[in-house]
Symmetry: C2
Subunit: 430 residues, 2 copies
């Protein structure tokens, strides 16, 4: 466990000694200062100080909390200016950028400023011309998913809840911790699609199987759960056996495009981000052919307020082949299959809290994680978890839960009251 | 009251005597039979019989409930074949088409079949090339709105609830009648935008003022309510005076495009249908400039599962200048103004029930209505109310309530539990 693992994605080399960087910092030139101030302005003058290796600072001067981003090398500064994605993330990964005070807070303030910067529209348009390196064919999807989800179950176990739910939790009440909020999320999903004993459910992208097992155990349904991550499936199957649910939950190693059969409910929590927008119609076709006329489905996905290219660093270093759609883009899934959107809920701040809880767990287990991976990996993952928490807090990312049904399905609950209470749903006469 | 009023929209001439039509029916030719069978097939072979004036019938033969559409003249048959919109509606209006057994049921079965007909896609594409005659400029909107909403308050009073709410009600529980369901809808809207005493609310398109008055009376807010229907506003202002609310509710005769100021909440119930899709960005700009950073808004509108041209008969005879958008098209409102969609609820079956209740009330007051309008008007309005009830039942039309907020607004309730219970909303710490 104490040798670093082979990672599927290339991370920049770990520079290890930050102190030596500081001691050996090159002299700050006029051009460096201009670059620093340019960067600070383009980012929209956040209430975060930007600092160079010799203490040169750009900032509002009103920053009492000492939120700061420190560029320890000229390379870090210039690669951030010239190609912020993946330049900035890579410089943070090598240790050439330090973020001082609270990681999430610094990034939240930075994202808030960036979103309002007049340069943002330019950046959005510019980025949308850039081709990202990973596609979403059947084979590419296998590789993309493996690169992230097959990093090792023992790694994820350290910082997820005990059931290993790796999607946005639902902190329905203020006193819920991560584990309770994940259980609340599972129930929320089950109630939303109207599970009842004996129903046949298909799950597209089942992670370590928590939702599939929860549905079978607590709602008496039969589940076929699809995933293309081998490591996740192994654990999911073992759990099913341990719980005596291996006859009601079938874990299938296959792509969502190969789902056939007819089901009373379709659920997909946290898979759409890996589908890629050019495959939304294909997903819609799968749903339209698999969902019974009286059925309902749910898709839970990270999203955007408007179309926006993927962050290049996340795409290249964390989630190859990923894409976070706007609601408009998600409609591609439903329109051709004549599906009707019944309900959309945006759980943005729930994901901010979930990610912040994951990061706290991650930090609590740093010693064990250091035994598995090198510092570059750890810095990259802290930036990913903290950066996503910040993006949800700043309103840059959204979390949409969309419920849908075949257009002619009138077997629908009259209200959403059963989602908030323990009442049975009150259906329209059909 | 017993002379027919001048109507702003042209209705086909009332033929009055249906019996004389039947007696004088022309001989049914081979071509008429072919047309009848063609029509029945193109519509998708509904479980409704199509009959000609001499008893010639096209149908599945399995129609035990005697649902039937009777074409009493050759003209009615051929204008329905050649230009179904507005041909069919116009033939019904003149009395040349009869719908036997239950109006809503006949139309529901017909719409269900049409939606699944292989010709439907062709029809959709063909219709989208046709220009509809009414636009949505400031002046055109005035005329469009006046043509429908200024028909006379005494007319609408006969078949709406006593507070005259002319939008989809919310039948939260099975025992609610129309009046209770309209009150439930008003509260649902108020809770969704998080009203609290002292807030400033703007309403775009306020009808006879029921929501504005409800908000002021029950939630202690100040309301500025906009409308361009003069008749509606007169009544709304009188009510405000009667209720002693004329200092907290201001009814303004002006277009939504002229809303200025800053408000804690923006509500618009049943106006979007009259905005026209080329003005969604303009509406978005109004919202973005008027909504406070901590504010929330709600748009309630008839919609579609996918982009679809307006029904030509409804557009020309009932709601000039109207358009019912898909969710995708509605996103146009929110995306440019950097608004975040928080919640979408589809109340389709609630509107089916509302319209069916209105039609029942309408029929109960036929005698009084006959004193106001001629039979052509009455047939047209029965077809409109029954046809819309059928379209919502068949899943052809949707009713979307969309809640939104500025993208950076973190003053949001943690869950929707307060919408279902009398609990106070539980806000995220912000």
């Amino acid at each position: 466990m104490n040798t670093s693992r082979q990672l599927p994605l290339a991370y920049p080399k770990d520079l290890k000694s930050v102190d030596s960087l500081l001691r050996n910092g090159a002299r700050v030139t006029l051009l460096d200062r201009l670059a620093l101030n340019f960067l600070y302005s383009v980012i929209g003058k956040p209430s975060v100080d930007f600092m160079l290796w010799d203490g040169t600072r750009a900032g509002s001067g009103k920053n009492d909390t000492r939120l700061q981003i420190v560029f320890l090398t000229r390379k870090a500064l210039w690669q951030t200016c010239l190609r912020p994605d993946p330049g900035f993330g890579d410089a943070y990964t090598t240790g050439e950028v330090l973020i001082e005070s609270d990681l999430i807070q610094v990034l939240t303030e930075t994202f808030r400023a960036t979103d309002q910067s007049p340069w943002q529209e330019f950046r959005r348009r510019f980025l949308s011309w850039m081709a990202l390196p990973y596609g979403n064919s059947l084979a590419e999807s296998r590789w993309n998913i493996s690169a992230h989800y097959d990093l090792g179950n023992d790694f994820y176990r350290l910082w997820l809840d005990s059931e290993m739910v790796y999607t946005c939790a639902y902190y329905r009440s203020i006193e819920m911790d991560l584990a309770a909020a994940q259980q609340a999320k599972l129930d929320h999903v089950c109630r939303k699609v109207g599970l009842a004993p004996g129903m046949r459910v298909v799950e597209a992208g089942c992670g370590w199987g928590a939702l599939a097992l929860h549905m079978a155990r607590n709602y008496g349904v039969k589940v076929r759960a699809f995933n293309i991550s081998r490591e996740q499936l192994e654990l999911a199957r073992r759990r099913a056996r341990e719980l005596g649910l291996d006859h009601t939950v079938e874990f299938i190693e296959d792509d969502y495009r190969n789902i056939y059969g007819t089901y009373d409910a379709f659920v997909s929590v946290g898979m759409l981000e890996h589908v890629g927008q050019s495959h939304y119609q294909a997903l819609g076709k799968v749903i339209a052919r698999c969902l019974a006329p009286h059925g309902r489905g749910l898709i839970h996905s990270v999203g955007r307020n408007r179309e926006c290219p993927m962050n290049g660093w996340i795409h290249q270093r964390i989630f190859p082949g990923s894409y976070t759609p706007s609601l408009r883009e998600m409609m591609e899934i439903f329109e051709d299959g004549d599906l009707s959107v019944l309900d959309v809920e945006n759980l943005r701040l729930h994901y901010a809290r979930t990610l912040s809880d994951w990061l706290q767990n991650f930090d609590r287990h740093l010693t064990e994680i250091r035994g598995m991976y090198d510092d570059a990996f750890i810095r990259a993952w802290r930036l990913y978890l903290g950066g996503c928490a910040a993006a949800f807090t700043a309103g840059t990312l959204q979390l949409f839960q969309v419920i849908f049904a075949p257009a002619r399905n009138n077997h629908l609950p009259r209200s959403r009251d059963h989602l908030s209470t323990s009442l049975a749903p009150d259906y329209w006469k059909s």
